[in-house]
Symmetry: C2
Subunit: 638 residues, 2 copies
């Protein structure tokens, strides 16, 4: 009876996992490989993936109809229709066709009144500039982050990556898992077992469990109960795979050699765990690879796999493999919907103040990126006219709730550094995420006040004092609120490469085609301030009402000759290879409520903000000053 190992340990399951993962710390980790995007379903990105091209790549028709120069329609009315002649003052276009200068607007087919001459139409109302035109980069802007690191790739992500010109992607490599069936009594399927024989079946279950967990299983030939053969099989398996499962022989019977072989070849960390069924589990390390011995009873084998193999696979995969599902959330703002349609509204979900908030995203059909950014769909039934803010809605989730609950919600002004933060978060703090929505500085502060966001990034200039951000918080909030210093960033005019129109500053803008930012954007407030300083009025600026909603969108429009100049940040100009005329430094900071500091993911956010990796990346992008980044100023404190 010498070979019996009567005395198994009885280590609690969680503790056994902890000890084992600690022992594997040095030798096991996530590795990566580059694969075609088209084969990347369910794979997890290594790091942020950026768009190569804009989508659309040019200003394009958002409707079927005709393209016109809006100005020629200015006088159209029911009394005095304007006549359009195809090929003369308008062009027939379908959705998606390019809109080229001098055309800058689309009139829908439905609004064209036919005449006896098929090439002539009448219109009864004027068209406004840029109506029904999808501006270049509306969906995806070249250089924009499409996916953050640590992201599980879904069908919709594959579509957007391809549309953005990305063909290959670096993803987490799948671990190769050897499964070795052992035992002199086991036989392969195919013939009727005799007394004393068992058809080997656990390895078939393991293979498929490994597949479900996203490893690559390799079932090796069965090994009889023979010390030497088992030793050889384990040695070979360890050489060629990332991880080895041995089944069974993990207990303390006469012929349970596994533990002895593993003691000879490497180190047995745990033998026996306090779990039922499933006690006789061996957790070992051989040549820096995990080797796990699992018991032979099917239920014990299954439970052993769930408790001990999956946590080790996690070391290789580093991913959060939780399924999505459905959830209830509180609607952040009123949604109006037509009785004509069942409507799918993409929403961002965030947990703020302990409750799940669903914040509706852009509703356009073209915005593939809104699918990538969305956390789920909220469906408005056809027979409803809409839903009120505060109403509880059902959301079909695209991400797991656990991921959503560990996500810092950022709503406010846009800056490319938000992409950097979002990419760094899960790298520096596993299972912590950042998700940002761009609604301008004022929009961010409103969202913060309504409890819809953890953090509002802002750059709001007090036109009286010339000081950024503080006075806005003092005026808009009456309770304590924190201002976390972000960065000083250079704002300026983005102009074409080589500055062919020789624009020197704001005063050169009249007569040029400008692209503005949307109302409430800090950049627009700064532009208004600078207009005043230069003695100009909005009416003098051609394109003052032509709005783009991000710095990158402004840069993309200038780059595609949709405008001659726009205001924005240096990194956007640099990303689109355009020239940049610095006008001044502004302060881009973060507003949040003090109690948010209690959340671990907010702490992670502050940590990333102060990290070396973040500073390095901003330095590389250019146009930022990180002196004082992360400092906290309490407004309305006691």
């Amino acid at each position: 009876m010498e070979k019996r190992n009567l005395y198994l340990n009885n280590t609690p399951a969680e503790e056994a996992v902890k000890i084992y993962r600690k022992a594997l710390e040095e030798c096991v980790g996530v590795s990566y490989e580059t694969i075609p995007v088209t084969e990347a379903l369910n794979r997890v990105t290594k790091s942020a993936v950026y768009a190569k091209y804009c989508s659309p790549l040019y200003n394009s028709a958002a409707m079927d109809g005709v393209a016109v120069k809006a100005e020629i329609t200015n006088l159209a009315s029911e009394r005095e229709p304007v006549e359009l002649v195809i090929g003369e003052n308008c062009q027939l276009i379908d959705t998606g066709d390019p809109i080229r200068p001098p055309c800058n607007a689309v009139i829908m087919a439905e609004d064209l009144v036919e005449t006896p001459d098929p090439s002539r139409f009448r219109i009864l109302a004027s068209a406004s500039p840029w109506q029904h035109v999808r501006p270049i980069g509306e969906d995806i802007v070249a250089g924009e982050m499409i996916l953050p690191g640590g992201h599980r790739i879904r069908p919709v992500d594959i579509g957007v990556l391809i549309a953005g010109g990305v063909q290959k992607v670096e993803v987490v490599r799948r671990p190769l898992v050897a499964v070795i069936p052992t035992g002199s009594e086991i036989i392969e399927p195919g013939r009727e077992p005799r007394e004393g024989e068992i058809i080997e079946s656990n390895s078939r279950m393991f293979e498929n469990m490994v597949t479900e967990q996203e490893g690559l299983p390799f079932r090796l030939p069965p090994v009889p109960d023979d010390y030497g053969l088992l030793r050889q099989a384990i040695l070979t398996a360890v050489r060629e795979h990332d991880m080895v499962l041995v089944n069974a022989g993990s207990s303390a019977g006469m012929e349970d050699y596994t533990v002895h072989v593993l003691r000879e070849l490497g180190q047995v960390i745990i033998h026996g765990v306090a779990i039922k069924p499933g006690k006789p589990v061996i957790l070992a390390v051989v040549d820096g690879k995990p080797v796990i011995g699992l018991p032979g009873y099917p239920v014990s084998a299954f439970i052993g796999f769930q408790n001990f193999v999956i946590p080790v696979l996690d070391l290789y995969l580093g991913s959060n493999r939780q399924p999505a599902g459905r959830t209830e959330a509180v609607l952040s703002r009123r949604l109006i919907s037509s009785l004509k349609y069942k409507e799918y509204v993409r929403v961002k979900i965030g947990k703020v103040d302990g409750k799940l908030i669903a914040a509706p995203l852009a509703r356009g059909a073209g915005a593939a990126m809104s699918l990538v950014r969305a956390d789920g769909f909220c469906v408005i039934d056809q027979n409803r006219e809409g839903m009120e803010a505060g109403e509880t809605v059902q959301v079909e989730l695209f991400r797991s709730l656990s991921e959503i609950e560990h996500t810092v919600m950022v709503i406010g002004s846009h800056d490319l550094l938000l992409d950097v933060l979002s990419d760094l978060m899960p790298n520096l703090h596993p299972h912590m995420f950042l998700s940002s929505t761009h609604v301008g500085s004022m929009g961010g502060l409103m969202a913060l006040r309504r409890g819809e966001t953890h953090v509002a990034p802002i750059h709001l200039l007090d036109q009286k004092t010339g000081i950024y951000n503080r006075s806005y918080l003092e005026e808009l909030f009456h309770e304590p609120v924190l201002l976390i210093k972000g960065v000083k960033r250079i704002q300026g005019l983005i102009v074409k490469k080589g500055n062919p129109l020789n624009i020197r500053g704001i005063s050169d803008l009249p007569g040029r085609r400008y692209v503005n930012r949307q109302r409430g954007a800090g950049t627009r407030i700064l532009f208004d301030y600078l207009l005043g300083e230069n003695g100009l009025t909005p009416a003098q600026i051609d394109g003052y009402t032509h709005e783009a909603s991000t710095h990158m969108a402004v840069a993309a429009l200038v780059g595609s000759d949709g405008a001659d100049a726009g205001m924005g940040i240096q990194s956007a100009a640099k990303a689109m290879d355009l020239d940049f005329l610095p006008i001044g430094a502004e302060e881009y900071d973060f507003a949040l409520y003090p109690k948010a500091l209690e959340l671990p993911h907010i702490q992670a956010f502050l940590d990333v903000l102060k990290s070396q990796a973040f500073r390095m990346k901003l330095k590389e992008m250019g146009g930022y000053d990180t002196t004082g980044t992360g400092e906290q100023i309490l407004i309305h404190g006691l």
Copy 2:
């Protein structure tokens, strides 16, 4: 502008799906293919799969230790130990080794007192017959249903199928889905798009959505906007695939040829749906195959796929593709657990009276079938001594909640016809299931009273009147309860093929090895009644305390020479190729509360019970009389 189709319909989404599925009714349906079990992960079974072999195939040791004939240990005590000598009166065995006559018990290694002679041990207590012995078929009985039809195959199912000797399985065939990208403006990935060009990306999203939905996608080469080329592409695609997706060109622009081509080639059922985004959808039929035109905007394309492609894939796949997850449920009975272990208890989940009930299953580690039958795990933490009946517990689900909520819970006496009902349910009533747990007739009535089951199958003989079932319901219940007549079935003695011991009836049993059913089983009550009628007592029956818990387990024991005779039903004897001596007909009926009739799945159950398919199958099995099956008798009615 002749080619414009300005006027799309605005059919509500659900109605459009209904109309389209109706149009496809004749030509589209589920088909099947036979594949190796090892490749069957996530595939859905066509019909019930039955075990070919028992598991274990022989009586085997459940522990490491020695095998003995229990009788020789009868006098062992601390004062007068019995000496065991290996090779003489005991054999050294490991878990899983066969236990052959005359041995009929295992003594654990821990209970052996060593002596100076390594081949001799002392024991200080007697061993009872069959202790630590896993009887043949304890886990799987040959002929037993392993999986019902319509079941999604999981890793654990693959293990059990292989263990039960099944190597191939008939499963639902995956539909071949062609994806045709169209448009003169689209280009393939690989070069920078010029103005007016778009990198085609929707088809890459569709491919992967089809994969996620378990179809097999085939992306075909892009087709320019040309009527003839598009016509040819669709014709070819329809010939070689089960379903075709055309993207885009589904709207009403000048170059949106799809609807015209489809009108020529087949029938356009719907053009335009009341959904936003996603209105311009075409649902057509060409040569009996569904052809769906989806809009080009990515978000519309995505929503169109979700709303219209998935319901058509469902016609091919016929499956319920809901994910599992976690749920809370009320524990049906007290669970005692050791502080030494974290324990995983397999449970059945059922929705009875609007609340989810978790009923614990067998706790042995060897019972792989209990994993297959379980709906989930309930975990008892190591630091808890157990949980009380009525306590709310967390359950990790193996099946989707929606499936569980449409499942008829059947707890009570075992009969093979329950497997037949379980197999027929989802076939005759899609998405309705039946799940049965075998605890004997009295156990079933107790579960019914505790609200843990919808239906209790019983065959309880009133020994005074000779009438089945009625008097038990009258005595045990005080509120109205329904008795649904099931079948009359022949009970008898199961003996070896050819009846070598020439057993003629109950009176021949003394001196033979009998295998009994567990306490509370109707068959055991009948046996006790017959013993009395024959003037015999339990003490005269060798093996009266040797219990098996199903008819099939009794038959398996007789078949493997673990016993000479046992009482059971004819179909079990037939399934194991044994002889059967009829003793009498008994009534196997179903008890349930009247309010259960309100549930659609209970109605489905009654419908299946009365179906032609059910009668035919029982006739084929033999030993049943279905006169009056489905008749209802109300007990304690007003």
